[in-house]
């Protein structure tokens, strides 16, 4: 190939590289501006949680979405990374010169070390066996952590003071806003690194073992070795999230690595969508927000997130990002209007079913508190008696009627979408 031809080839590529970086620039700008837009200290701490959750969910998706590996104990890496970072913070408290912004690196080292150890056992298997081994390893690690109070502080965990280290450029990270910018910077950098990883040989090999682990062997690669490497890197990034959590909360407990925490990251990643790089970001932001917003309103938040998760597994396995991807071409081609009537026809059923589900769950929780001697809070502003039969019957009827309507309207909506997307393709 002649030299001019080569540069001609190279030019559009560098243009593409610039375009690929655009979302990252926008994300950085958003991270800078957000604290001034979101109201109050509550909003700020919510943003911090979201940043941590984003890193955690992205690291989880390195396994699930990109590598086809379902890790039921992912919080272990976050937790142990957090504990190690907390020890470093305590050393800083004791006068060692450890700059606070480097704590996530300590967390990364912790996450990486544990992932290599755990991965040595689990990554020799794939699929279901791999998933079950991660579950067992997680149980083991949590139990051991509780058995060693001298290292992990027992039930209370370990706590420290992030502002007692040496100030860096006059910043001691005592205030929440300073902590926010530190977390945002780390989250941005970690996310960027994880994205760059998807464009490396190992990142592509991870996709290959997801799709067809056996064939990879006949192309010269040991699938188990790829799994171990990917698992280790994922642990490293989860460890960064752990270091950030230690920074943010100034406390780390065994709860940070509990099976519930592992389930939570699975649920948020899946709801966001495992099929794209950015899906987990949506899930992390949405679920973090909902868990804070809804857990103050209802006791049944966990149940709702579980129901949403199962609904996604059954009807939208691509998660939110999958739904967006499926509709983007249609919308771009200007066919959104064609979908609207069919989709709108699903709304009555959807809202009825939703009302019925919410009603049943809320009545259930009211019934519990009434049995425990409390006076029932109103359901959606209505003073319903959870011990009466009528509210239950009404809620059940709403649910059934909604489900029936949804079933009736669904085929038309699916057809409308298929038609529109075919037309969008043709165009």
């Amino acid at each position: 190939m002649s030299a001019p031809a080569q540069t001609a080839l190279a030019r559009p590529q560098s243009g593409a590289a610039l375009r690929a970086m655009l979302p990252w620039v926008l994300a950085a700008l958003a991270a800078l501006i957000l604290p001034h837009v979101v109201p109050g200290g509550f909003g700020l701490s919510l943003l911090c949680r979201m940043g941590i959750a984003i890193v955690f969910a992205l690291s989880f998706n390195m396994l699930l979405g990109q590598g086809g590996m379902l890790d039921f104990g992912h919080a272990v890496f976050l937790g142990l990374g957090g504990f190690l970072a907390m020890h470093a913070m305590k050393l800083a408290d004791a006068g060692w010169w450890i700059p606070l912004p480097a704590l996530p690196l300590v967390g990364a080292a912790g996450g990486l070390a544990v992932a290599i150890l755990a991965g040595w056992v689990s990554t020799r298997r794939a699929g279901t066996a791999f998933a079950m081994i991660t579950l067992g390893v997680a149980e083991l690690v949590v139990a051991v952590v509780l058995l060693l109070p001298s290292v992990f502080g027992g039930e209370e965990g370990l706590s420290g003071d992030r502002s007692s280290g040496p100030p860096l450029l006059g910043v001691d990270f005592g205030t929440q806003i300073q902590a926010y910018y530190l977390i945002a910077a780390w989250a941005w950098a970690a996310a960027l690194l994880m994205w760059l990883y998807t464009r490396t040989p190992l990142g592509r090999l991870a996709n290959a073992i997801r799709d067809n682990p056996e064939r990879v062997g006949f192309l010269g690669y040991d699938a188990a070795r790829i799994r171990l490497l990917v698992f280790s890197l994922s642990g490293l990034f989860a460890g960064i999230a752990g270091g950030l959590a230690a920074l943010n909360d100034e406390i780390v407990t065994a709860g940070n690595m509990s099976p519930e925490a592992s389930s939570a990251v699975l649920v948020m990643t899946f709801i966001g969508g495992v099929g794209t790089f950015w899906g987990p970001v949506i899930g992390a932001v949405l679920i973090t927000f909902l868990s804070v917003a809804l857990s103050t309103v209802t006791d049944a938040w966990q149940l709702y997130s579980g129901l949403l998760f199962v609904a996604m597994v059954v009807w939208a396995p691509g998660g939110i990002s999958g739904i967006i991807l499926a509709h983007a071409p249609v919308v771009r081609a200007g066919f959104a209007g064609r979908l609207a009537p069919a989709y709108a026809a699903m709304l009555p059923g959807f809202f009825l079913a939703l009302a019925g589900t919410l009603g049943l769950a809320e009545l259930g929780f009211r019934l519990q508190s009434v049995r425990n001697g409390a006076s029932p809070r109103p359901v959606f502003g209505m003073a319903l008696d959870p011990q009466g039969v009528l509210p239950w019957v009404v809620a059940a009827i709403l649910l059934l009627a909604g489900a029936w309507l949804l079933r009736r309207a669904a085929p038309a909506a699916r057809e409308a979408w298929q038609e529109a997307s075919v037309m969008a393709q043709v165009q």
Binding site: T200, P201, F218, G220, Y221
Partner: protein, 252 residues
């Protein structure tokens, strides 16, 4: 001259059923070698044994004089043997181009690198493009492999097998299920990709076999009952019985 592939006394049983009962096979370097035989004779099983997909019960497999018996598939590949599958085995959620690129990564210095961009491996990209045009799939470059038409998937199966540039190539029924025209295209493709290499191919279509192969081995009841140039094998009475017997069975 050492043989490209030298199989001696190879045996394999699934539970009580002995499928491979002492296979002897010699493949000279640079030849196109067809393995034929009735359905269920154990041809695919033989490939599985050679390529390390299944462990053998007895026998020895030499690749260019090196013992590869009992090695894992990736070790065997790294010694220069690549194979395709009778049941298409691709990466369905990767594009055609990425399938080819993944297939060539090992032999283009990628290792397990997670600190270098895939795009930075220029020879790798060129190799993938080259195979892509060899397959005639340029226009399907960014289509997911899982969404390809059957014949295109079969072509890609061959492409993925040869992309790494292995010296010895095993193709398991590359033309199975294809139409006349598709088969012809596939034969041209196989002829081109096997140039300067050693090819062992399982094939049902005897037209293809006699047009392409330098040597034919006939596998029946777990043994190679005949092996030689096409004309010699064609006239072999043992082969006729094996085939006629099989034909009689299918009729019955």
């Amino acid at each position: 001259m050492t043989l490209a592939l030298h199989v001696t006394g190879l045996k394999k049983a699934f539970g009580p059923t002995k499928i491979i009962r002492g296979v002897e096979l010699q493949v000279a370097r640079g030849e196109r070698h067809a393995v034929i035989g009735p359905n269920g004779a154990g041809k695919s099983t033989l490939f599985h044994l050679i390529s390390g997909r299944l462990p053998s019960d007895a026998g020895q497999i030499l690749l260019h004089g090196q013992d590869i018996t009992g090695l894992a598939p990736h070790d065997i590949f790294n010694r220069g043997l690549a194979r395709s599958f009778q049941v298409t085995s691709l990466f369905p959620r990767l594009s055609v181009f990425e399938n080819l690129r993944a297939a060539a990564m090992r032999t283009h210095g990628c290792g397990h690198a997670f600190w270098r961009r895939l795009e930075g491996f220029a020879p790798l990209r060129r190799r993938a493009e080259e195979v892509l045009s060899l397959l005639g799939l340029e226009r399907r470059r960014d289509v997911l492999a899982g969404a390809l038409a059957y014949a295109d998937q079969r072509a890609l199966e061959i492409g993925v097998t040869i992309a790494g540039g292995a010296e010895t190539i095993l193709l398991d029924e590359p033309t199975a299920g294809m139409s006349r025209a598709e088969t012809e295209r596939a034969v041209t493709l196989i002829r081109r990709v096997s140039e300067g290499r050693t090819l062992v191919m399982i094939e049902h279509d005897l037209g293809v076999v006699f047009g392409l192969a330098d040597t034919i081995s006939v596998l029946a009841e777990g043994r190679v009952i005949a092996s030689g140039p096409p004309d010699q094998v064609r006239g072999d009475p043992a082969v006729r019985t094996a085939y006629l017997g099989a034909a009689a069975e299918t009729l019955a």
